[in-house]
């Protein structure tokens, strides 16, 4: 029974790993192709199936006047906007989630669950209709085509996720921990920062990762709300998507844009394994 399950486990995990990696390998191979290698049928191995070229990669560092798009500045812009928006969202979201987990709210018939649901229901709305009002709003505030304008919009998009996830995680932290701290003489704010928060690191890390992912990969709002001063990475990459889809440069771009998040994934995994809650009570 044990070995059967173990073999099953390894087989399943290997199969899924292959499914996960396959598109990336294809993207890697395609990033070295040119028009002819792509249009004469599927090709795979460089030098064996087709003549590789660095064109797909070089295009990402050239200016449009030379047929490319320089992704360095958009890259940095994206990093800034994503990190700042995620930080603010986690900060405000965690505080709000703690309140919703520990305290009871009642305003008429609106209770805790309703407030939590209010937060997450902001994610339901299809973004399309919000294009014009957000455009008008940022226009009036003078925040169009600015990094801060984007951060503001992203906080609205990301905070609900932080709240939703942290409520669940706070619910798992036993109330006894809070009570112990309070008995020890802390006020609720101190109790939160000193005792509860350190025990919710796994939750915060997970929420943080999701915020960063949704911020980094957003295209729609970055597209509508920026022009020349600020360009985020997805918009910059998509500006290569002309009538003839450049399979090669888009593949290179996809690989390049996933890279920073992989680094974050490593960090997340480390915190996940470390912050195991089961021993927290003692």
């Amino acid at each position: 029974m044990g070995t059967f399950y173990t073999t099953l486990k390894y087989t399943a995990v290997t199969i899924w790993s292959m499914f996960v990696i396959a598109p990336f390998l294809w993207a890697l191979s395609t990033s070295f192709k040119d028009f002819n290698s792509v249009t004469s049928g599927a090709t795979y191995i460089p030098w064996v199936d087709f003549e590789p070229t660095l064109e797909g990669w070089r295009v990402l560092l050239r200016s449009p006047a030379q047929g490319g798009v320089n992704i360095v500045e958009p890259y940095l812009n994206s990093i800034f906007v994503t990190c700042l928006a995620s930080f603010i969202s986690i900060l405000l979201g965690t505080l709000a989630a703690y309140a919703l987990s520990r305290y009871t709210f009642k305003a008429g018939f609106i209770k805790n669950d309703d407030i939590t649901f209010f937060f997450i229901s902001q994610r339901i709305m299809p973004p399309v209709v919000l294009a014009i009002p957000f455009f008008i709003m940022l226009g009036k505030l003078g925040l169009l085509d600015t990094l801060l304008g984007l951060v503001m919009v992203y906080v609205v998009l990301l905070m609900p996720i932080a709240v939703w996830i942290m409520v669940d995680f706070f619910n798992k932290v036993p109330v006894e921990i809070d009570e112990t701290a309070l008995i020890d003489g802390c006020n609720p704010i101190q109790a939160f920062f000193k005792v509860v928060l350190p025990n919710s690191i796994p939750g915060m890390v997970v929420a943080g990762l999701f915020c960063m992912i949704f911020g980094w990969t957003d295209f729609f709002f970055a597209f509508i709300l920026t022009f020349t001063e600020v360009q985020l990475l997805p918009v910059a990459i998509v500006s290569l998507n002309s009538s003839i889809t450049p399979w090669w440069s888009l593949s290179a771009a996809a690989l390049v844009s996933v890279a920073p998040l992989i680094v974050v994934a490593f960090i997340v995994e480390r915190y996940l394994s470390k912050g195991n809650l089961s021993g927290a009570l003692k």
């Binding site: 399943a12 995990v13 790993s17 996960v20 990336f24 294809w26 993207a27 395609t30 599927a42 795979y44 405000l92 505080l95 709000a96 309140a99 305290y103 709210f105 407030i115 649901f117 997450i120 994610r123 339901i124 709305m125 299809p126 973004p127 399309v128 209709v129 919000l130 294009a131 014009i132 009002p133 709003m137 906080v155 609205v156 905070m159 609900p160 709240v163 996830i165 798992k172 006020n187 609720p188 939160f192 796994p202 939750g203 999701f210 990969t217 295209f219 990475l233 997805p234 990459i237 889809t245 888009l250 996809a254 844009s257 996933v258 998040l261 992989i262 994934a265 995994e269 394994s273 089961s278």
Partner: protein, 287 residues
């Protein structure tokens, strides 16, 4: 519990959200009562005409909704089961645990707008590797251009992209489970299957429900995948509500109508999700 503190925690986030959102949401409601168009931009007032139109004269929207429900339920179900299985498998001792855990996270970190183009090339019926593989068996499945298969392709891409989301949430949940119930179960002589059914699964119920709800919300907004892969085709067979709303809004610029569609969609989703959440609670939290 002090009266003041609870507001201190809740209000910053709540007020910031409300403050930024109040104009856009209010504008959208007002927009849905106007006939803002590509040719007549402006907030004229036409009352509930948009809503009448969408309830009596727009079968396409409702068909799209049906398709959406079908596809999102299947996708989320697959993502949940596969995600849970994977999380369970890399939870305890396994070789290369770190590698697998990080690897399984990567698909959701790709930018959908770009990744779907890559998927399009993968599934390209004439020039892609998938059909090259199938052609060795003499078949050429029409991944993007047949009515049935186009939905399957969209589901495959969605499962690839978002299973990591479930995987991560559930793994985090598993890692924070207390040890006591498991020890107790072992003492009672329970094997791995019984442990799972009676200890793991019920303990994971709250986070499972949270994960499913949020995935349902996100899955329903599915846009880039449909737009890039099939344009809602062939015909309208892979068109979803969000795709339809997008076309009406940013392509045809019927913003007034699109706003009405969005608000209706929002309300239907809120009602459905509340019902689904209650159902899940009954289903899962039931020792």
């Amino acid at each position: 519990m002090n009266f003041k503190h609870k507001y201190l925690f809740l209000l910053p986030g709540f007020l910031v959200l409300l403050g930024i959102l109040i104009f856009p949401i209010g504008f959208t409601v007002r927009l849905s009562l106007s006939s803002w168009d590509s040719f007549f931009p402006g907030l004229d007032f036409i009352g509930l005409e948009n809503y009448t139109r969408l309830f009596t004269d727009d079968p396409r929207f409702w068909e799209a909704f049906q398709r959406l429900s079908f596809m999102s339920v299947i996708t989320v179900f697959l993502q949940y089961t596969i995600g849970f299985a994977l999380a369970h498998m890399v939870w305890k001792e396994i070789k290369f645990q770190r590698f697998f855990r990080v690897l399984f996270l990567i698909p959701m970190m790709t930018t959908p707008v770009i990744m779907t183009v890559i998927w399009k090339t993968v599934f390209h019926e004439s020039l892609g590797p998938v059909n090259f593989f199938f052609s060795l068996f003499g078949v050429t499945p029409l991944w993007l251009s047949s009515e049935a298969l186009s939905k399957v392709t969209v589901i495959i891409v969605e499962v690839w992209q978002w299973t990591p989301f479930m995987f991560l949430l559930l793994l985090a949940g598993l890692l924070s489970l207390p040890k006591e119930p498991f020890l107790a179960a072992s003492i009672d002589g329970a094997g791995p299957i019984r442990k799972f059914v009676y200890v793991t699964f019920p303990l994971m119920a709250p986070i499972s429900i949270g994960a499913i709800i949020i995935r349902l919300i996100e899955a329903s907004k599915i846009m880039d995948t449909v737009y890039v892969l099939t344009s809602g085709g062939p015909g309208t067979s892979s068109e979803t509500s969000s795709f339809y709303i997008f076309i009406k809004g940013l392509r045809e610029f019927q913003f007034g109508y699109s706003a009405a569609l969005s608000l209706t969609y929002l309300i239907i989703m809120i009602i459905s999700l509340t019902i689904i959440a209650k159902m899940l609670v009954k289903l899962m939290i039931r020792s």
